[in-house]
């Protein structure tokens, strides 16, 4: 039985705990409440999670005498760098969403720490584990559209659930909208690199104001092809559609929008989840983490994948300096 500590905001931790409960070979032995701006959208308190609650990961490790197999950071690693470093210091593996850092200094420090530690970091986007993206990925990999020409992603919401914009509001108050939007870009970067290979160059513009924030990024892949990711995020309402993805290649085009998924089951105009939680994209991401913990092999690199976070560091720099950043410049 893998003993997991879940670290993150209340809403995210609750969703992860719900999924771990459905696994036979995992248990959540503690939660670290990292809420800065408590979310109340679901109307249920954090205390109903029947798991010991702590103020820090160090406190968990002290109390349990280090009897922890893995740390699950329920959100981007970059928002919880202290927990990442604490876990690596005691050689405990970590799963988190990308990116693991927003600046080169922190990124390099984490890569070094993971190299020197028996622990490691899994930082794949849960999007990789969705059936939709898997099908797109395999279609591209099998040559279904030929070499990529242009990939285009429009995103108005990063994650599942209708309360996403509430959590954005809470996060953006603390982190600032540009950093938060770059955290959203990290998920698309991860999927793009997974599907089309490494990004060579990135150019980003970001604007914030009023009820909307916006960022867009232009990517050049090392093997050729280009991609754009446009994000817009409303502080109070869910824009529609929340996601649109299009891959255009030499021999055809693949595309999907939120409408493709949200029409599968509806109650009135509200889309309902079809997959059981343990088998949705997030549940499958957690399953992969548990399987890795139970296996004998480390991930292929100490931070896997490492490049999507590197691209986000470059994206931040591009937005700050208004210039394209080539990834060779970002090598640790």
């Amino acid at each position: 039985m893998q003993r997991i500590v879940a670290v993150g905001s209340e809403t995210a931790v609750r969703k992860h705990v719900e999924r771990y409960r459905r696994f036979d070979d995992a248990t959540v032995c503690g939660v670290v409440d990292a809420d800065r701006e408590p979310c109340v959208d679901e109307g249920v308190g954090f205390d109903d999670i029947d798991v010991p609650r702590y103020h820090s990961l160090s406190e968990v490790l002290q109390t349990t005498d280090g009897d922890v197999d893995g740390v699950d950071i329920c959100g981007p690693g970059a928002a919880f760098v202290d927990a990442l470093e604490t876990a690596l210091a005691v050689s405990t593996p970590v799963r988190c969403d990308p990116p693991v850092a927003f600046d080169a200094e922190t990124f390099d420090r984490l890569v070094t720490a993971s190299t020197e530690s028996e622990g490691w970091i899994l930082s794949h986007s849960p999007h990789r584990f969705s059936r939709m993206y898997e099908r797109l990925h395999s279609a591209v990999e099998s040559g279904g559209i030929g070499p990529i020409g242009v990939a285009r992603i429009e995103r108005a919401a990063p994650f599942d659930g209708p309360g996403w914009n509430v959590s954005y509001d809470g996060v953006s108050v603390v982190e600032g909208p540009v950093r938060t939007l770059c955290a959203v870009l990290a998920h698309d970067v991860d999927v793009l690199e997974w599907t089309f290979g490494p990004v060579e160059r990135v150019f980003v513009r970001a604007r914030a104001g009023g009820r909307y924030d916006h960022a867009h990024a232009v990517f050049a892949f090392r093997d050729g092809g280009r991609a754009t990711v446009g994000t817009r995020w409303h502080r109070a309402e869910t824009p529609a559609p929340r996601i649109g993805v299009e891959y255009s290649g030499k021999h055809g085009r693949l595309d999907f929008s939120e409408d493709d998924a949200s029409t599968a089951l509806r109650e009135g105009s509200t889309p309902l989840a079809v997959d059981p939680p343990e088998d949705d994209c997030r549940g499958r991401a957690l399953r992969a983490f548990i399987d890795r913990l139970g296996g004998s092999e480390r991930p292929p690199t100490d931070v896997a994948p490492v490049t999507s976070s590197r691209v986000v560091v470059a994206a931040r720099r591009s937005a700050d300096e208004n210039r394209p950043v080539t990834l060779a410049e970002e090598s640790p």
Partner: protein, 328 residues
């Protein structure tokens, strides 16, 4: 009373569309179609019941011409029209370079000619409503613009850099830049461009992604690639999102479509057909109205110079690998 109009050159893919619409326009008489390729010109002319003639003959016979030649020939045909005091509706872009575009604009201004650009998207009803909503303040402060104007790779002279002035950048930057300028009143001040040739074995770029800044600081992302598959059921798209402090408004110029699946023969099996009000028809009606001296929404040659400046900046950005200021 009708106005005599003609189509000058059949080289552009829109010449056939314009011919069909003009032949049915009550306010216009399509008096002829001119071109250097006599056989193709005759075929086009016959298909709409008009005469095939030389460019000079057409200029003598008309009040206004639609210039549908390769871009590099625009200046020569426009000069011919100016010599005959004929009104001009020119396909975009105006010229293969910013310098030439300015020169054409100046020559037309000196003569006081009626000279308009074929920018049908200004006549799209969704775009017109978008402009009204924007001007009413519904968007608030404009933060960002996102646009697409992808299409099928047209081939022919469009992929000859000498005749077209470039590839997808030259062909598919104009419409959305023009419509955003028209709606917002803002100018493009900076361009970063990523281009490549990925879809076809052609000597020009077919990938055209532009990241721009507007004069009010708003960012502006445009994908104008020739990325629409040749077998796609519709030719392409033209969409604009305006992201503001208060709201995001989106307009899809060709959103009104239905699908037609054919289950006979060996031709195209699946086609999407636009059923909304036709912006090309409105463009042609407006051109006829402008010949009569009535005011219209049409894009001027000065507007064309401004989009030509953005195109020039995009190519310069590719060459320098960095964002560049737009010089008008």
């Amino acid at each position: 009373m009708t106005v005599d109009v003609g189509i000058c050159s059949t080289a552009h893919v829109n010449a056939e569309v314009y011919a069909a619409l003009l032949s049915k326009l009550p306010s216009a008489d399509l008096v002829g179609i001119s071109g250097r390729n006599a056989e193709r010109t005759r075929r086009y002319a016959n298909s709409v019941g008009t005469a095939a003639m030389s460019h000079a003959e057409l200029m003598r016979a008309t009040d206004g011409v639609l210039v549908c030649s390769p871009t590099a020939i625009h200046g020569e045909l426009i000069d011919l029209a100016l010599q005959h005091d004929v009104a001009i509706l020119c396909e975009k872009p105006l010229a293969t370079s910013l310098t030439e575009a300015k020169s054409i604009r100046d020559r037309c201004e000196e003569q006081g000619a009626v000279a308009k650009m074929a920018m049908p998207i200004r006549y799209s009803r969704p775009m017109q409503r978008l402009k009204e909503r924007y001007e009413s303040g519904a968007v608030g402060d404009l933060l960002a613009v996102s646009g697409v104007n992808r299409g099928r790779m047209p081939g022919g002279w469009f992929v000859d850099p000498k005749l077209a002035g470039g590839g997808a950048v030259a062909d598919h930057t104009d419409h959305i830049v023009d419509i955003v300028r028209w709606i917002t009143g803002e100018e493009v001040t900076e361009v970063y461009a990523e281009t490549d040739t990925r879809f076809y074995d052609i000597p020009v770029e077919d990938v055209n992604v532009l990241s721009m800044t507007l004069s009010n600081g708003a960012s502006f992302l445009l994908d104008g690639s020739w990325s629409t598959p040749q077998k796609n059921p519709f030719w392409g798209d033209a969409e604009v999102d305006l992201v503001g402090s208060e709201a995001t408004l989106s307009a899809d110029c060709f959103g009104y479509r239905y699908s037609h699946v054919r289950d006979i023969g060996h031709d195209t099996h699946n086609e999407s057909i636009y059923w909304g009000a036709d912006p090309n028809n409105a463009l042609l009606r407006a051109f006829v109205a402008s010949i009569r001296g009535e005011s219209t929404l049409a894009a001027s040659f000065d507007d064309a110079v401004r989009t030509a400046a953005v195109i020039a900046a995009a190519y310069e950005s590719v060459e320098r690998g960095e964002p560049v200021d737009v010089t008008y």
